[in-house]
Symmetry: C2
Subunit: 326 residues, 2 copies
Amino acid sequence: MAERHGSLVSFRPDIRVVDCTLRDGGLVNNFRFTDEFVKDLYLANIKAGVDYMEFGYKASKEIFNPDSFGKWKFCDEKDIRAIVGDNKTDMKISVMADVGRTDFKKDIVPRKDSVIDMIRVATYINTIPAAIEMIEDAKQKGYEVTVNIMAVSKVSDAELVSGLELLAQSSVDVIYLVDSFGVFYPEQVEKLVNQYMEVANKYGKKIGIHAHNNQQLAFANTIEAISRGASYLDATVSGLGRGAGNCYMESLLSFLRNPKYNKIAIFNFVEKHILALKEEGNKWGFDIPYLLTGILNSHPSTAIQFIKDGRSDYSIFYQELIDNVL
Amino acid sequence: MAERHGSLVSFRPDIRVVDCTLRDGGLVNNFRFTDEFVKDLYLANIKAGVDYMEFGYKASKEIFNPDSFGKWKFCDEKDIRAIVGDNKTDMKISVMADVGRTDFKKDIVPRKDSVIDMIRVATYINTIPAAIEMIEDAKQKGYEVTVNIMAVSKVSDAELVSGLELLAQSSVDVIYLVDSFGVFYPEQVEKLVNQYMEVANKYGKKIGIHAHNNQQLAFANTIEAISRGASYLDATVSGLGRGAGNCYMESLLSFLRNPKYNKIAIFNFVEKHILALKEEGNKWGFDIPYLLTGILNSHPSTAIQFIKDGRSDYSIFYQELIDNVL
């Protein structure tokens, strides 16, 4: 058994905190954040010492109708610059690009012409070759590049071994362990991060963690991953994100010991913006339906619908899930 | 480093699930549960395979005015029997007795005359001799007996070593690790359970875990404790309990693999009773103020007041805590 990395008193200088509030949170409100929300989040993240702020997706306007989504689904250069100018700060900017849903050759411009610092490629196990094409394109354009292997709880051990090996041989900088469906217990995260770290160390890559809160384990799984060597840590303010949401930024910054991190600005942002978002009827966060899709290793969409429909017949829902999922 | 006990696929026959919904949840509504609530919970717990149901406290009526609390603060024999009759079921019944707040010589009758099976003594580190007096009294009267060392996050290592040794030499059956203030990370629970288990194994005792959800770690800490050998597991329906609440029974039963456990009855209970309890304005569960008292190793009372006052100035509250607590 590998020992834990770091201690609960010291800090690891390799840690990077990535705020995904707009990107994963955009899945809650179709990316319709006000400019004030985005600007205040940007300023709060800078004050908080967050290392990367993700503004949203680089989605294809051929596939997704811009009228149906807020602008952070597309992250046009001009829209980011309207918030950050030339971003003359220590915080870097990232966007996510889904395999098959991004016109990356056109929409991702050379880094020297962009305010974006990092491209995060999101792939399923069966699209890794396409992901690698995007990784090499972004790397060649001068970006830092990460890759998320999504829904890894659905991937066989043998496939994961091959996929990790392929990605580690690419130019990618960071490989993310992603618990898309909120399935994993910390004990499993321990094993998976150990496995990811072994490949990462062989090829000089870093490992990231992106957790979901279906079982109220997003924070627990994130700190377990840290303890096993993961260094890129995704979190969102108040866990804002699809379904059960993500690891709370408030919790993560409370856990990290590097004095550069300061949670006060995040609290003030919550008071000003997150409470209002909830009052407007946006729903996210741990609840029984998400627990059920989590333990059944199932996409949260059915649970999101259950809650949207105002249902509370949990037992019936559980039987529906078993009938349709297992 | 000790290996994990059990696997994620098999089950451990030594596991006992203890439902504390009435007892810890009573701290939310002053123990004013309707008889229908209590009766339905009793029936749900039986169907769910719960091993022990805790009905409340055996509080002294000399100290606490019965007019100010619901009856489960006192757990009179006749009140329990009004719900369970002679409890001719496989589920056992427990009550909690606080050191210094229970007329145990009078109010705890011989087990042969009682429907109660287990007395749970709650003590601070500095009242362990008084706790042992209560333990021996209850044991002599024929009960199973457990002891909670509360607020152990405030206890020095040396004191804890002495306290554990003293308790392990008593007649107590189970010693509980209690994270009263929701301070601990799973990494700390690992170390503490290992320490408790070492003493327990020496004297043939068992170890229990009672977690609080200040950092959204109640479930994570409970399964970490299981994995390190704890076998008595406290949980409450929907985490109902003081402040940030407890480990969700729904999550715990979903985790355990013993086919005797069945979470369906608990879901139906939530639908019928817990949603109503929330709508009536009872407040519990994870929120930023509890995170703050948790990370500062502080009693949740200030956070409970903050929420009761309808405040949302988290940063100010945090400064108040630092001024008054550290």
